[in-house]
């Protein structure tokens, strides 16, 4: 599969009064053409910093210690501010988390949406307006021609998020980075927006990096998933591999701690403790202190990536041949079972929720 973006060994530190925050610690991943790559992980795990590094929008106290980000033969980390300006909003576009604050409150939305056109395509005013209208209609803003003259505060949250999406899409970018595009929205509106994004992706054939910590959303959106913890990617694989056959104890914890509508357990599985302080990350596996499956080596040495399949790899010593075999939490075992079924029956078969509901495995 063709890679459109290759991130290698990206390391970003932030200088603060207390010392260097090691926000991203050697992250590597590829983005395939036309796919949706989801990056999940809890707050502060370095998701946003990674994408900001791609767009050259890191805060001024950031130091890129190492790494390359290759896009169309160019290392974006070495690009000048001017070169980045020609890439941003043109071939790489971004949707930001909070629709309430990501629009300029003093500019009409028509102007804001058409801005990328005017900057990159040196389009005439009329043409730009026409295109803007078209795109706004595409994202489902009714009566777009008239509403272009309105200001952001005249739109609801859901509409604003649509406008932000329109803005990102107006140049038909090759890569769309969506940093928690629906976290601030209600489930019902979220559903609409996600639907919209999938539709649009098919229409303009773009690659998406989708950042979220909502595993439900990931399940619906992603082709592949990268799980981040404490500035590192600790597991990467196709969406089915991550959800049905995860290998990293953190991924287990993540999936397991989320009740589904049919979870009946008396207690939820909870990952104990809190994430490490990135000012001074632990020597070995950063997850070890919270990991019930931790091995001695976890406290001494950070695990390398162990490949599981061609598309699936995880950074945990448990995959080391010498490691003891452990039994994952029951929910994971259950999922692995479903996965085996699916491999057997083929993935295309619709999975009937009603069937799941009656699966005895959930009633532990």
């Amino acid at each position: 599969m063709e890679n459109i973006l290759e991130v290698k060994d990206l390391t970003v530190n932030f200088g603060t009064f207390a010392g260097d925050v090691q926000a991203v610690r050697g992250v590597s991943f590829d983005l395939h053409k036309g796919e949706t790559l989801a990056i999940v992980g809890e707050t502060g795990s370095g998701k946003s910093v990674t994408t900001k590094a791609i767009m050259g929008l890191l805060d001024s106290n950031a130091k890129v210690a190492s790494g390359t980000i290759m896009f169309e033969g160019q290392d974006l980390l070495k690009a000048s501010a001017h070169e980045m300006a020609t890439v941003n909003g043109n071939s790489i576009a971004e949707i930001i988390q909070d629709p309430m604050t990501s629009l300029d409150p003093t500019m009409t939305i028509g102007k804001q949406v058409s801005e990328p056109l005017r900057i990159h395509k040196s389009m005439s005013k009329e043409k730009a307006i026409a295109r803007t209208k078209e795109v706004l209609e595409l994202v489902g803003i009714q009566n777009a021609a008239a509403r272009m003259k309105d200001y952001p505060h005249q739109f609801s949250g859901g509409q604003r998020q649509r406008i932000v999406i329109a803005m990102a899409l107006v140049n038909y970018p090759k890569i769309l980075i969506a940093d928690e595009p629906t976290t601030a929205l209600d489930v019902t509106i979220q559903a609409q927006i996600l639907n919209l994004m999938t539709e649009l992706q098919q229409k303009i054939d773009t690659s998406i990096i989708f950042i979220t910590h909502d595993l439900g959303v990931v399940a619906g959106m992603a082709d592949r998933v990268a799980v981040m913890y404490a500035g590192k990617i600790i597991e990467v694989g196709t969406v089915d591999e991550i959800f049905y056959d995860p290998k990293h104890p953190y991924t287990w914890g993540l999936i397991n701690s989320m009740p589904t509508l049919d979870t009946k357990a008396d207690r939820l599985y909870a990952i104990p403790g809190t994430p490490p302080d990135l000012l001074d990350p632990p020597k070995g596996d950063a997850f070890a202190p919270r990991n019930a499956y931790a091995l001695k080596i976890d406290t001494q040495q950070a695990p390398p990536f162990f490949p599981v399949t061609a598309t699936h790899a995880a950074a945990t010593w448990l995959l080391h041949p010498a490691a003891p075999t452990v039994t994952p939490p029951p929910e994971i075992v259950r999922r692995q079972a479903i996965y085996q079924q699916m491999i057997a029956k083929g993935f295309d078969q619709p999975n009937n929720p009603a069937v799941k509901l009656n699966t005895p495995a959930t009633d532990q």
């Binding site: 932030f14 200088g15 603060t16 009064f17 106290n61 104990p272 403790g273 809190t274 302080d277 001074d280 632990p282 070890a288 202190p289 919270r290 990991n291 499956y293 931790a294 091995l295 001695k296 080596i297 976890d298 406290t299 001494q300 040495q301 390398p304 010593w317 080391h320 010498a322 490691a323 003891p324």
Partner: protein
């Protein structure tokens, strides 16, 4: 990977015992109070720290001059009037030479000042030691500022808190009152004070106290409005805490940064206002001096005796700059959003 394998110790893959696991709820960093944290951030700001020290030194000098002033600031010696600055034998800028009516003369010799007597910053029109007067003036200016600040704090903070906390009609009325007060030129208020009381520090402080707290009240009101719906205040209410206690325990501490920062602006404003009053001739009464009266005296003879303006102006500017930079620094230090 092959290399790594070889390095691995034998028991590497034994599960970690629970006891060996790190206490995941541990907080490693030493415990800092909010103020300590702010102080730490402030220390990063060189300008603010220098300003702080400059202010400390100025305050020590100004207050200390009560006991060890170089000379009595009010002791006159009309024969030694308007002597330029001189230090020791004299060097550039401090050589005791004056340009009187076009000719450079040794003013000390002309005035018959005995050898060995010199005035570091010169003397004023009554032959008083300018250095001592500047120290004295600084003290009075600071006094005006601090007294005024005190009232500012008491009235402004209380007013703002009450207005913001009770909201509704109380707030509307109190805001109208504020509007009215702020629409009266404060010069008028000063005049009235000077008439009702006597001219001097007290009247000026009173006037500043009456008009100077408006900004504070507005800021505190806005903050209180914002804060009163914050969940920690609601939590205190659900616990049954009384309004008075909420104000003291919850509101006030959280307003403290706003208050301190506003104070840092109030102080120079007060000093400045006093200087302005001195300029229009209703400042501190003689023979007391403030930086304002010194400046006012100095600027008039600026062409001939520039030092009489420059030194008080320099001291005033240093104080103002220091307070301003410190205020800026404090604002950043108290702002949790500030990183680095």
């Amino acid at each position: 990977m092959a290399d790594e394998k070889m390095q691995l110790p034998k028991d590497a893959f034994e599960p970690l015992q629970a006891t060996e696991q790190l206490n995941s709820e541990r907080i490693a960093a030493p415990s800092l109070t909010f103020l300590q944290d702010a102080w730490r951030r402030l220390k990063k700001n060189k300008a603010a720290v220098i300003s702080l020290w400059v202010l400390v030194v100025i305050i020590i000098l100004a207050v200390g001059s009560i006991w060890f002033s170089p000379r009595n600031p009010n002791a006159q010696n009309a024969a030694y009037a308007n002597l330029p600055p001189k230090i020791g034998g004299g060097f550039w800028g401090f050589d005791g030479k004056a340009n009187i009516a076009g000719a450079v003369v040794d003013a000390y010799k002309q005035a018959g000042v005995p050898k060995g007597t010199y005035y570091i910053l010169g003397t004023d029109y009554l032959g008083r030691d300018l250095l001592s007067r500047i120290l004295f003036g600084t003290r009075i200016s600071l006094l005006v500022a601090f007294v005024a600040t005190f009232f500012d704090l008491v009235i402004g903070v209380a007013y703002g808190m009450i207005s913001g906390w009770y909201g509704g009609r109380v707030d509307t009325i109190m805001q109208r009152v504020l509007e009215v007060i702020s629409s009266v030129p404060n010069l008028v208020v000063v005049i009235l004070m000077i008439v009702v009381f006597k001219p001097g520090i007290f009247s000026i402080s009173m006037a500043i106290a009456i008009t100077g707290w408006i900004t504070m009240a507005r800021l505190i009101r806005a903050q209180t409005l914002k804060m009163k719906d914050q969940e920690f205040i609601l939590a205190a209410r659900t616990l049954g805490e009384s309004t008075r206690k909420i104000a003291l325990k919850h509101l006030l501490p959280n307003l403290s940064s706003t208050i301190i920062i506003q104070l840092m602006f109030t102080i120079p404003t007060a000093i400045f206002f006093e200087a302005f009053l001195s300029f229009i001739g209703i400042g501190i009464s003689a023979p007391n001096a403030s930086l304002g009266t010194l400046l006012n005296d100095g600027y008039k003879t600026f062409r001939f005796l520039p030092y009489q303006m420059w030194y008080p102006a320099a001291v005033l500017s240093i104080i103002m700059i220091a307070f301003n930079l410190l205020a800026d620094g404090l604002r950043d230090a108290f702002d949790p959003r500030t990183r680095g």
